[in-house]
């Protein structure tokens, strides 16, 4: 394979079953207090050259404040993967990520991410392999299941096969007619993921409210796992409910990070900053210099999530966002809040 930026070793590491296993075997089993600051966690566990897996779903329960810290610390030469992986777009602009395993980078209802498209077109970043959500999810699930690969009916007949060096089409060797083709998807083992959760204890037992997406599988698959949590709760309170989905021994660092998913949303906690996203999509992404402005103001010149919130509108913003989420989850009456928001129309439109 010829890569612009990535190394063969980086390319191979994603599917290195034995390597990931050995790494897991070498991890500390001690049930100890793993709490540390966000800065320390990113400094110690996100390394230049790592394959970073995106968690959550685009702007839902994604560890966006942690991604901002990666940008502030100036991590380099990283490869990004995830389904979806929309937040990779600004990691590219900040020169943290220069190669991706692509499933979906877009801005949901607003469609394409022009910043991402620009980075690819100008060859600032390269695509190493192309996936669908489900096929990539099966890759993570295979890893979680300890299966070297999983047969699937996804991807067959699509051109994605021609752009995915990891998957193969074979004739079904078990069951069914021999002539029945299936795609085989190898287990995927990224280096590091940061998972934002509503509740965790100091050891790393983590509770996810709402959809877990691929995060349970990723917690099992990744070599290094950082938990950022809205709340650190006593272990006993997690035991009372028995609803954790990530056990402590997968976890390397626990960061108490209230509002860690902002400007995205965190189920059960707060709604997302829709105006901020509007601004990013409509103003920030179309032009390179605007992106740089957005990043300077919101990331480089912002120390932490609290300063970020001050810029969004402080306590008034948080109070509103919290109530919106309460209403969204039908915990308070819908009539008490308005889902109206200010649409951003850029001057050039």
């Amino acid at each position: 394979m010829e890569f612009m930026y990535a190394t063969q070793e980086q390319f191979d590491r994603l599917v290195d079953f034995k390597g990931a296993r050995e790494y897991h075997l070498s991890k500390s089993r001690v049930k100890k207090d793993k709490r540390m600051s966000l800065g320390e966690a990113i400094d110690r566990f996100v390394q230049d050259g790592d394959i970073l897996a995106e968690t959550g779903f685009s702007y839902v329960r994604s560890p966006i404040q942690a991604y901002f810290e990666i940008i502030r610390q100036g991590k380099k030469n990283m490869v990004s993967i995830g389904s979806p992986m929309s937040n990779t777009s600004y990691l590219m602009t900040a020169n943290c990520v220069y190669a991706i395993h692509l499933s979906y980078i877009g801005v949901e209802m607003r469609g394409n991410d022009k910043n991402f498209a620009r980075n690819i077109k100008t060859k600032k970043a390269e695509i190493l392999s192309i996936w669908s959500h489900g096929s990539m999810a099966l890759g993570f699930k295979a890893a979680q299941l300890g299966a070297p690969f999983i047969g699937s009916k996804q991807l067959l007949g699509s051109d994605m096969l021609k752009y995915n060096p990891y998957v193969k089409v074979i004739e079904n060797p078990v069951g069914l007619d021999k002539s029945e083709p299936v795609v085989i998807i190898p287990a995927l083992f990224p280096d590091v993921c940061i998972i934002h959760v509503q509740k965790a204890d100091r050891y790393g037992n983590a509770v996810i409210e709402g959809p877990a997406i691929n995060d349970i599988a990723l917690a099992a698959a990744c070599r290094k796992v950082i938990i950022t949590a809205e709340k650190i709760v006593p272990e006993m309170s997690i035991r009372e409910l028995g609803n954790a989905c990530i056990p402590f021994w997968y976890v390397d660092a626990v960061v108490e990070l209230p509002y860690g998913a902002l400007p995205g949303c965190c189920p059960g906690c707060y709604y997302w900053a829709r105006e901020w996203w509007e601004w990013l999509v409509r103003i920030g992404t179309p032009k390179e210099e605007n992106v740089q402005d957005v990043m300077r103001y919101w990331i480089y010149e912002t120390k932490d999530q609290f300063e970020f919130i001050e810029k969004l509108g402080g306590i008034r913003f948080i109070n509103h966002a919290t109530r919106l989420m309460e209403a969204a989850q039908a915990n308070i009456d819908d009539s008490l809040v308005s889902f109206d928001y200010q649409e951003v129309i850029p001057k050039w439109d």
């Binding site: 959550g56 779903f57 685009s58 702007y59 839902v60 979806p84 692509l102 499933s103 979906y104 980078i105 877009g106 949901e108 209802m109 469609g111 394409n112 498209a117 690819i120 077109k121 695509i127 192309i130 996936w131 669908s132 959500h133 489900g134 096929s135 999810a137 099966l138 993570f140 699930k141 009916k153 996804q154 991807l155 067959l156 007949g157 699509s158 051109d159 994605m160 752009y163 079904n172 029945e180 083709p181 299936v182 709402g210 959809p211 877990a212 997406i213 691929n214 349970i216 599988a217 949303c265 189920p267 709604y271 829709r274 989420m325 969204a328 989850q329 039908a330 819908d334 889902f339 109206d340």
Partner: protein, 260 residues
Amino acid sequence: MSKVAPANPLEMLAYNISLMIEDNQIVYIGTGLPMVGAILAKKTHAPNITMVYESGGQDPLEGEMPWSVGCPFTYRKSPMTLEMAISFGQCAIGYVDIAFQGGAQIDMYGNVNTSVIGSYENLKAILPGSGGGNDIGSLTQKSVLVGLQTPDRFPAKVDFITTPGYLDGGDSREKAGLLGGPIAVVTQVGIYDFEPVTKRMRIKALNPGMSVEIAQACTGFELLVPEGEVPFIEPPRDEVLEILRNEVDPRRVFTKMPGS
């Protein structure tokens, strides 16, 4: 004369989508107009459908119009949420009846492109990529394609097959080992199906005011025309339009015409 303004093309599209849904189905939904159409169906002729989402939300209570398939409204008071691999797994094993998806390009065999315009070697535009599109299109029993019909968006052959339809027609989808397949294409012009043998796109019914000639003019390949008269779709009744405007998408997130 009705006091209700007639449907705009996006509203017509949402209405046509709702017509594809039968009561009691399990419906797999993506962002945008399919969501509007499905909720409209649920509030009108199909009150007992169950909506499932790729992010894992299953059977939520209705609320606001979701921004995307990961929005809290996709799992509002859901009895459960599923992991993604398992959520897609439901399509493969026969627990989803119908799924909707859009695309930047749709070709005469119902292949969909959401990856790249031009080619990866000679890039004109890069699109978001598959997302769940390929999985839904590969695995679901019946899929319905939704798009705005223009000659560019309906080329003879898509630049990139993100989601396979009938591939090269005939039995090529089956030979590729895929499950299910597209049963219809819904656009602002009309509804199309696929001729059973060649699997080429064929006019099924047209929206009011449209004609075979207009449909053909909006298409980059030759549309098949059925024998006899082409039926017209009855426009949405006033009360349906009012439900669409006042209850389904009151903020006009998806049904407001751009520029209006």
